[in-house]
């Protein structure tokens, strides 16, 4: 049993698709690697932080009901984005920090995969100085 249960993972993927739209187009193997990266990072955190994270996921899921009368999953994408933007800019500092933690995990799962680097123009080279000379 990992840090997150199946329902929490399903919801995290829902949020991840809004944070990094490319997540929605990941193949199953890539999604598995995304999940493994996030799972490993979560597992290394102290239990109290893991609990806080699960609680925060639940807040993101159900807080929209206060305004829209339905949880996050039921909203259309525009409203989901509006909800996440509200969390990011929330007057309550702890909420903003929680959202930063959530989106950082998503970024880790997506951009932490080496093959993504090449696709987005991240091309370090152990012999970078030679490439500099060629570029001149």
């Amino acid at each position: 049993m990992g840090v997150l249960g199946k329902r929490e993972w399903d919801f995290l993927f829902r949020v991840a698709e809004r944070v990094v739209p490319e997540v929605a187009r990941l193949e199953p193997d890539d999604l598995g690697r995304f999940r493994a990266i996030v799972e490993e990072a979560l597992a290394e955190r102290p239990p109290a932080l893991q609990r806080q994270f699960r609680l925060f996921l639940a807040v993101v899921r159900y807080a929209p009901a206060a305004r829209y009368l339905v949880p996050f999953d039921w909203l259309d994408q525009t409203r989901q984005d509006a909800v996440l933007a509200w969390f990011q800019d929330c007057p309550v500092g702890l909420i903003r920090k929680g959202f930063w933690g959530l989106k950082s995990l998503v970024f880790m799962g997506y951009y932490g995969r080496a093959e993504v680097g090449v696709a987005i123009g991240y091309r370090p080279d152990p012999r970078g100085n030679e490439r500099l000379r060629v570029a001149r």
Binding site: W100, K103, F107, Y111, R123, P124, P126, G128
Partner: protein, 497 residues
């Protein structure tokens, strides 16, 4: 419990521990029993893979993302043979004399620190990179500053045979960076100092410590077999860094009261700022950090430096998410980056404590003054980006995700102070200082000006935790200079006894 009898035990192998080990090398050569206990592994060369997540896990505590208690800032500090010197960029500045004066430690003068700093620069092959090896990311920063008429200087760096991999913060894969893992520790080992990797010190005891060596799947085998050790030594030198040194001493229940232990932690709270150019630039090729701008160090209390980071680190440093975030990330070869460092004041409420399991917990509240500095720094950086020809700039406190170059005259309006909200604006720190500060009084310091803990003539501290205030520059040279002082005092005390 395995018993060990030593003359000196050094806890930590980074800038502080490496410098102490090196300075005490001649004593080891003369027969003194000296060991360096290092928490992390001694990686083999092929284990420096340059892969972001993999190396963060291997070389940093908490993967470089230890959170402060209020979750408002992440702290990056290294572990492993060489400590944080394995993961810095090798920028080698000596501390400005005015900083030493401001520290106001009786018995510590800037001439002595500068003299020892010069020795470090010499040891570490510090020099300026040739113009031909400066990449576009660095040149654009320099040119932008010059167009604005702002002071810009080139960083001296400590590399030998640099190939420009651009991976300094993930451990140089070409063994070029002259950290303590390449210079001071091997020199000390050649003289008989033992370096014990994978060794976590649980607590300091009267003239000794208790430590555990754990098996590790990575790196070379530890010099000591796995197991629990009780080490007796005539002198104990704590060099575990500004987070772990105070935490170690706090959980050690020392026989003296040290009311200032853990207090006055400073960190140079930092932002990574990003701009997009119309075309690809050389940014990940070549050394990542060649220039800095201290135009605003005294007035607005911030420094600007060039930097270049990796996909995940870059992504999490941007405020925002979704399509616009992905679009900016999708062209990393067009990105220019600037690192902002706020020069924070030492305040007693910013401190290291320990949790229920003895683990370090850092309380750090971002003062209004620091947030003001970060705000001014965002606007100054945007001006540099635009002066360098960037098409658009991302300011985390901005009203919009991107500011276009056509809007460059509206930066005060588009980057409001009210947007500088911790959490929304991702703040990180890697220059961790204070917690065992030097001084003369028990009430506001932990050690004297030679790093000896007040009231305990066998216990010393030799790392950035000694700093009474922030260094206002990248700190490693100053750490090594102070550690050299501490080593001199340790050697003198051994000879006396």
């Amino acid at each position: 419990m395995i018993e060990k009898e030593l003359d000196v035990v050094i806890i930590g192998s980074g800038a502080g521990g490496g410098a102490v080990a090196s300075a005490l090398g001649p004593l080891a050569a003369a027969g003194a029993r000296i060991a360096v206990l290092e928490w992390g592994p001694k990686l083999r060369e092929h284990e420096f893979t340059g892969q972001e997540l993999e190396m963060a896990r291997r070389l940093y505590f908490d993967r470089g993302g230890m959170l402060t208690r209020d979750l408002g800032m992440t702290l990056a500090f290294g572990r492993g043979y060489g400590g944080s010197t394995v993961v810095y960029t090798g920028t080698s500045l000596t501390v400005p004399p005015r900083v030493i004066v401001k520290w106001n430690v009786p018995g510590l003068d800037s001439e002595d620190v500068l003299r020892r700093s010069e020795k470090v620069l010499e040891q570490n092959n510090v020099h300026l990179l040739d113009e031909a090896l400066l990449n576009d990311n660095n040149r654009l920063f320099r040119d932008g500053c010059r167009r604005l008429g702002w002071a810009v200087e080139q960083f001296p760096i400590n590399v030998k045979g640099c190939q420009g991999a651009g991976l300094c913060n993930l451990g140089c894969p070409n063994a070029a960076k002259q950290g303590t893992n390449r210079v001071q520790l091997p020199a000390a080992e050649r003289q008989g100092v033992k370096v014990v990797a994978n060794c976590r010190v649980e607590r300091v005891e009267e003239r000794g410590c208790v430590a555990t060596v754990v098996p590790s799947p990575l790196g070379e085998p530890s010099a000591w077999e796995p197991g629990e050790y009780r080490i007796r030594a005539k002198a104990v030198v704590v060099c575990a860094g500004a987070v772990n040194s105070p935490a170690l001493l706090l959980r050690s229940k020392l026989p003296v009261a040290l009311p200032a232990l853990g207090l006055y932690f400073t960190a140079h709270p930092a932002l990574i700022l990003v701009a997009q150019h119309a075309r690809a630039i050389t940014n990940h090729q070549g050394h990542p950090k060649s220039f800095y701008c201290d135009q605003f160090a005294r007035t607005d209390r911030f420094l600007l430096e060039t930097c270049m980071y990796f996909p995940f680190t870059t992504a999490k440093s941007l405020a925002g998410f979704g399509a616009e975030h992905s679009k900016l990330m999708s062209g990393m070869d067009r990105l220019q980056m600037i690192l902002v460092l706020a020069l924070d004041d030492a305040r007693p409420e910013n401190r290291v404590t320990i949790g229920s399991r003895g683990e370090p917990v850092v309380d750090y509240s971002l003062s209004e003054r620091v947030l003001d500095s970060l705000h001014e720094a965002m606007k100054a950086s945007a001006r540099i980006f635009f002066a360098a020809g960037a098409e658009r700039v991302h300011a985390p406190a901005g009203q919009r995700f991107l500011i276009e170059s056509s809007e460059r005259d509206r930066l005060d309006e588009l980057i409001p102070r009210s947007g500088v909200k911790p959490g929304k604006v991702p703040i990180a720190a890697a220059h961790l200082m204070g917690g065992c500060r030097m001084g003369s009084s028990l009430t506001d310091s932990v050690t004297d000006c030679w790093g000896q803990v007040h009231g305990l003539p066998w216990l010393y501290v030799a790392d950035a935790s000694l700093f009474p205030g922030c260094a206002e520059i990248n700190p490693y040279v100053t750490i090594m200079a102070l550690a050299d002082r501490v080593a001199e005092r340790v050697a003198a005390s051994l000879e006396k006894n």
